[in-house]
Structures are given as C-alpha cells and as structure tokens.
Symmetry: C2
Subunit: 195 residues, 2 copies
DNA sequence: TGATGATGTCAGTAAGTACTGACAGTCAGA
DNA sequence: TCTGACTGTCAGTACTTACTGACATCATCA
C-alpha cells in the first residue's frame, strides 16, 4: 500500500488498522507498524504517545456510524422484495467499510472501553429499523403479522453470518458468492413473509 | 472452576482453553495458565515443553468432528419443518460444544497449520448434508426445486450468525433468546420452501 | 541566513515473558 | 523403608518490546 501522499499520522493509523486486524493487538509490534507506515518507531511515539492511544485514535477516526438511518429513510419504496434487497445491500456495504474494525473488535484482546459496543451499534440500529419496517408493512397488509422482531433478527443474522464467514477473504465457501446469496435470501424471506 | 479431580495435564489444557479463548494466545502468559490450573509454571513446561505445544494439545484433545453425519442420518424424518428444527438444534449443540475452540480460531493470532480448517470443517459438512437433503426433498415433491445449495447456505448462515452473535454470552441482543429464534427461522424457511 | 518543525538514528532502560537447571518435598506402591 | 514419578521453589537466562533522551538531518519559510 502506498500512502506516501498522506500525512504521517494517517499512514500510521492505516498501518495499525491493517496489521492489528490481521494479527491482533498483541500480535503486532510498534516497530512493525512504523515500518509498514514507512516511518520510524520514534515518530509513532511522537504522534501517539503509547501503542494503546494509537489504537484509540484509529478507532475514533475510522468508525462510521449514524449513516444507517438516513440511508434507509431515503431509499425504501414499500415493496417487500425490493426493500429487503436494499436493506441487505446497504448492510453489507456498511459492514464492509467497517470490516477491519470489526475484525479487531472480534479479536478483541484489548480493553478499550466501549470498543465492542460502538462497533456493534450498527446491527442494533438495523434491527430496530427493520422491525419497525416490518410492523408498518404488516399494517399496510403487505406482510404477514406474526413476529416482526424475530423475523427481522433472522434476516439480519443470515447476513451477519455471511459477512463474518466472508471476513477471511471468503475462503470458507469459495463457490458461494455474495450477490446471488443476497438475492436468494431475499427471495426466501419475501416468499415466507408475504401474506 | 474446580478441576482438582482431573489430572494435571487436563487441568492445564482446560485452563489454557478458557484463558486463550477469552484473551487470545498472546494475551495470556504461561504463568497465568499454570496458576489458573492450580499448578506451577514449571509443571506446565514439564508436560508440554512449549506454550505452542500446549495449545496444539488442547486443540487435538478438545475438537469434536465426524459426529455430524451420523447424527443426521439417524434423526431425519422427511418432514421439512421437523427436520429443519432438528438440523439447527444439532448445529447449535455442536457449535456450543466447540464454542471456546471456535473463539480461539476466530481470534487466530496463532499460526497453527490446519487450525482454522479443522474448526470450520463442521459448517462445510453441514452445508453438503443439508443441500443433499434439500435436493432429495425436492425429488419427493416436498420442497420447491430452485436453488437448494443457496437455500441451505442461507439457513446455515442465519444460525451461524446467531451463534457468533451469541459468543459473548449473548450480550448484543439480550432480549432475543435462542429457542424462539430457532423456531421462527424454521417457520420462515419452511414456509418459503414448501411448494 | 537563520529559525522552526518534523523526522531519523542510535543507544539505552525497564519490564515482561518463554523457558531451563538444580534441588527438595510428597506420596503411592513394592 | 526404599524407589520412582510427580510436583514445587527459586534463581536465572535470553529475548522481546514499549518507550525515552540526545543529537543530527532536512525542508520550509520569514
């Protein structure tokens, strides 16, 4: 990765995220991070003071939140199959942007207060939005009215599972691709939930 | 945990699995493992030689495989809803037994050849079995015949996601319990896949 | 030119940690 | 009672690693 156009802090942050997401916090040395950033270890400490603060800075800078609600409100067209596809496309998009942070949070040897909570904010938000959407669809007679939250949860879990499964560059099930999976899962849920 | 009835090796293995699954390989010292086992560090090295070999021994001893196929062949009754419930119950059972090993494998700082592969053997097996089951059900006219592998994959991913989500003692969605989730997911897939 | 700010080099400290050797204690079984 | 297997203690080695201080370099800009 050539980040020579970026400032030193940014290069260090990116290198830290890359390495830590692959090998874990304790599996990477400050020396390695600095070298990967094309800088000296001394510079790393001049910028961030400690290794822990480097990770905190990376965390503050590269997490994306709050965009979920907006994305949904603007895009839904109140057709179950269409909307489910939008939802899971958006979901995978956001999860992919946060991929490395989620990987770090999964490994999670570090004791960063609020680290896990913040990376897991998105799924929680999505569950709430999707549940409300299912309820509204039920009231419009476009969906069966049985167990909206659990159904939303099941839909989410299917895509969460697929995302986690794909974290290591999709090595588990190499013949299964994301796009057809999204389409089939939407078909299944649409058929099951349509009155 | 009181394992005073077990032999020294077993106590060390159990302590290692517990600690490493929580904090990662590099996050735990041999001293801590020995203390947690109620033994001295020296004894740990007398038994296993190196920290790495301790983990390998734990891995060899506490992974469960090969039982999936048997379990299924004996239990299926060729009714979609019943069988799906059996499948996902068995799945969660096996995943839970392997819980700590899967956690270690997720953190995965260690370079154990074949470690990930072996912990991920079960899902692969299950996908194959479930796909063949879907095909057979289709031939019997008890299921729609469209995309059996992807449908099996979607069902698996839903439960894989739910399992991973539950790994940290179910802290993410505390109000959602496993059993009702299993039932609802089975209902969804049964409704979607029945002709 | 000279000052400033960011960086590199290098030597070094302090702590942690995997791992060893020597020696002693305990306890079951012959 | 003797033996042998197992364990603990303790001191210590060798290596790694987060982090620091002193000093040099270099580009920019007034």
């Amino acid at each position: 990765m050539d980040n020579s156009n970026l400032g030193s802090s940014d290069r260090l942050l990116l290198a830290a995220i890359n390495l830590i997401s692959e090998r874990g916090y304790n599996g990477v040395t400050t020396q390695e991070i600095a070298t990967a950033a094309g800088l000296s270890e001394k510079t790393l400490f001049r910028h961030f003071g400690t290794k822990q603060k480097l990770l905190e800075a990376a965390f503050d800078r590269y997490h994306y939140a709050e965009e979920m609600k907006k994305l949904f409100k603007e895009k839904l067209v109140w057709d179950l199959e269409t909307d489910l596809l939008t939802v899971c496309r958006t979901y995978h998009e956001i999860m992919n942007r946060n991929r490395k942070m989620i990987q770090i949070s999964l490994k999670d040897e570090v004791q960063l207060p609020g680290f896990k909570e913040r990376t897991q904010q998105h799924p929680l938000q999505l569950l709430e939005i999707l549940t409300n959407y299912f309820i509204a669809m039920g009231e419009q007679g476009k969906m069966i009215r049985t167990n909206p939250e659990m159904q939303a949860f099941a839909f989410m879990m299917a895509h969460f599972g697929a995302f986690i499964n794909d974290l290591d560059a999709g090595k588990n099930y190499p013949h299964i691709k994301l796009e057809p999976f999204m389409q089939e899962s939407v078909r299944i849920f649409a058929r099951a939930l349509t009155p």
